[in-house]
Amino acid sequence: MKQERKLTRRQALKLFGAGAASAALAACAVPAAQPAQPQQPAQQQPQQPAQQPKRRLEIFSWWTNGGEADGLNAMYEVFLQKNPGVEIINATVAGGAGTNAKAVLQTRLAGGQPPDSWQVHAGRETLSYVNAGQVEPLTEFFTEKGFDKVMPQFLLNQLKINGEIWTVPVNIHRSNVLWYNPKVLEEAGIEPKFPTLDSLFAALDKLKAQGKVIPIAVGGKDKFEASHTFESILLAVFGVEDYIKLWDGTDTMWNDPRAAEALGQLKRLFSYANSDRSAQGWADAMTMVLEGKAAMTIMGDWAHGLGISKGAKVNQDYGWMPAPGSDAFMWLSDSFCLAKGAPNPNEARAWLEVCGSREGQDAFNPKKGSIPARTDPDLSKYDDYLKAAIADFASKPLVPSAAHGASTTNAYQAKFHNTLEVFSSDLDEKSALESLKEAVADNNR
């Protein structure tokens, strides 16, 4: 009896102790989670005075694999050469073309634990962070470092929100590119030159009549493919100046009859596309082109990166041209911001300087498969396609991409994607136009 009771009590105490210990651990976990990174170089430690805190820099992005991660690491190397002894915390979140990362970032910002600098699409996508007071303005920083003289004026104007620049663009992607399979077009007797939408549709008609391949491959699984295709058509229908006005946060341009016309053209384009597009991603669509199962697809120039990774050669296994209807350069850009209340503001500024520098951009972009946001890159580092893109970026009119945040806020983008996703399945112009008009107000928040 006595024995028994003692045992239970002892067990109880043990259990209680364990419970208290784990509660204490959980309480500690919050402050401990941020720094604890044991892999700092051991030999540098003794040189520093003991009381001086270690210099750190936390960079948040969704670049986790392939060329993106390689490019990011190359930029880190440039940073470390200039700022030796700083420990970089590479906070990345994989998946969902950034959606997952944005989710994690949101919880960190809401919890008041911002990283020093995070990845954001340059342009209007930054607006929600600006409105929430989560980022610092960088206009002065741009003049101080001379970035305003080496980036195109067009781009700088389109970067401004409330009269200030908020992020440093590290690269430029082109959204309005049509990728095609030269062999397939040759066999079909089609010359790969589609300056207008009509010439594109003539070619698609021919391909559809022959019935050997899918005339144009379109994805949908990644949610942005339909809206991506649509923005190129909007540019073709509206022209450069009016296209830019579509995203000014009012519905003026959406009430223009050309908006309905653009939806009509997209519907027509879908009639030549694969019908299982909701189950295919943009990469599947590009793969169909590379394998000769489809003749062409409209996608941003990250599709070029996919081509390279599959061992195909540009201008040989696959060709490209500006999406029909306009030869303007529709840009989108990854950029880094400076967090308000950044734990390490000096290191963060040093990082942004690398992001905007020629050296940093030339380290990053050849690996990522994009072009620098500057007009003075070292051309020898870029392949044939990228050289052509650099030339176009310097000479063509620039327009911001809507599907990738250059001219749209996060809230608007989500609705824009969804509306076009629904249109891709229902092909109902009237309700699509209604939703687009309804969403307009979201481009201001």
Partner: protein, 329 residues
């Protein structure tokens, strides 16, 4: 200490021991009660408040706006579609799961050879995460355009080509009824059927396990007596086994329905809500509202609606269970 004083009566000793045990029990419960109070009920209350606040952008703004977000949600075509999909998905999932589960349980219960092997095989899918199920079944149900892929390819290989379908890429609906006061049409989106198949594949083993437990609980004497009275096997199933399975069936319905109301991962990986929101459930919309649109208040409103739906189902069940238990005692 108590041993040192032999004068004390044994009954008092025992009472003290009981009191001490009770004290220890309460002490041990306190941390978990506190944790649950804060991290479950506290946050539910906070979510309820946020759903009535103006926290609709990245800026935290907790000023009170009342039921605006609920009104907006129910007036939205997309949310109406979500609710319609949820009802369709739940009804199909529940019905097929119960029928399959019961059929499997009856078969396994028929004392066939290698019963435990069959049981394990049917139960196994439950051990897999919905994410894996979603990805694998997406591959199977991707129709392929020029040439068939996945399940369509399998059908073609075994000469069942006529069964080929558009599966998760199917944009057609049936019967597409218009209701004057709704923005959404009443229909069954064809694309939701493959999702139901995947969900049933995963969860019917669970229904089987529950029915099997119920079947094993029916005393052999009753069946014996029925047989002596000249009852056919069908009559026995219809009039004896099924009625006696009623409590188990109720439990299965509650558990499966709340699984289906909360489904997120399966849809996210299998269709992503497509084509055109035809398989989107409120949980997916909630995720988009919070993390893509940064509209926290609206997302919290969706969360509260889901919570209310789940509690409409589980609270009566818990009350019923409690009553049943106290009657037994």
């Amino acid at each position: 200490m108590a041993i040192a004083r032999p004068a004390l009566a044994t009954s008092a000793l025992r009472r003290r021991a009981v009191q001490r045990d009770r004290l220890i029990a309460v002490l041990m419960l306190v941390p978990s009660i506190l944790a649950i109070a804060v991290f479950v009920y506290g946050f539910i209350a906070y979510t309820a408040y946020v759903s009535m606040s103006n926290y609709t952008t990245a800026r935290i703004d907790l000023s009170f706006v009342g039921l605006d977000h609920y009104v907006r949600l129910f007036g939205e075509r997309r949310f109406q579609e979500n609710i319609r999909n949820l009802i369709v998905f739940t009804l199909f999932f529940l019905a097929v799961c119960l029928v399959f589960g019961l059929a499997l349980a009856l078969m396994v219960d028929a004392h066939v050879k290698g019963e435990s092997v069959f049981r394990a095989i049917y139960l196994f899918p439950m051990a897999i995460s919905f994410i894996v199920t979603g990805v694998a079944w997406r591959w199977l149900f991707t129709p392929g355009d020029l040439e068939p892929t996945g399940i369509n390819l399998l059908f073609e290989m075994v000469g069942l080509g006529f069964l080929k379908a558009r599966w998760i890429a199917d944009t057609s609906v049936w019967p597409n009824l218009e209701v004057p006061w709704l923005k959404v049409r009443l229909m069954v989106p064809m694309a939701i059927i493959p999702v139901v198949v995947a969900a049933v594949w995963q969860m019917s083993g669970f229904a089987m396990a529950m029915f099997l437990a119920g079947l094993r609980g029916i005393p052999e004497e009753i069946k014996e007596a029925a047989r002596v009275d000249g009852c056919s096997e069908w009559q026995m199933l219809r009039h004896i086994i099924l009625p006696m399975l009623r409590p188990v069936t109720l439990s299965a319905i509650v558990v499966l329905t709340h699984v289906s109301l909360k489904t997120f991962d399966l849809i996210m990986t299998m269709t992503g809500g497509g084509p055109g929101n035809k398989t989107e459930l409120p949980s997916l919309y909630m995720y988009e509202l919070r993390f893509s649109q940064f509209n926290t208040a609206q997302a919290a409103a969706v969360a509260m609606i889901l919570l209310i739906l789940v509690s409409l189902l589980t609270v009566p069940y818990l009350v019923y269970n409690r009553r049943a238990q106290s009657v037994e005692q």
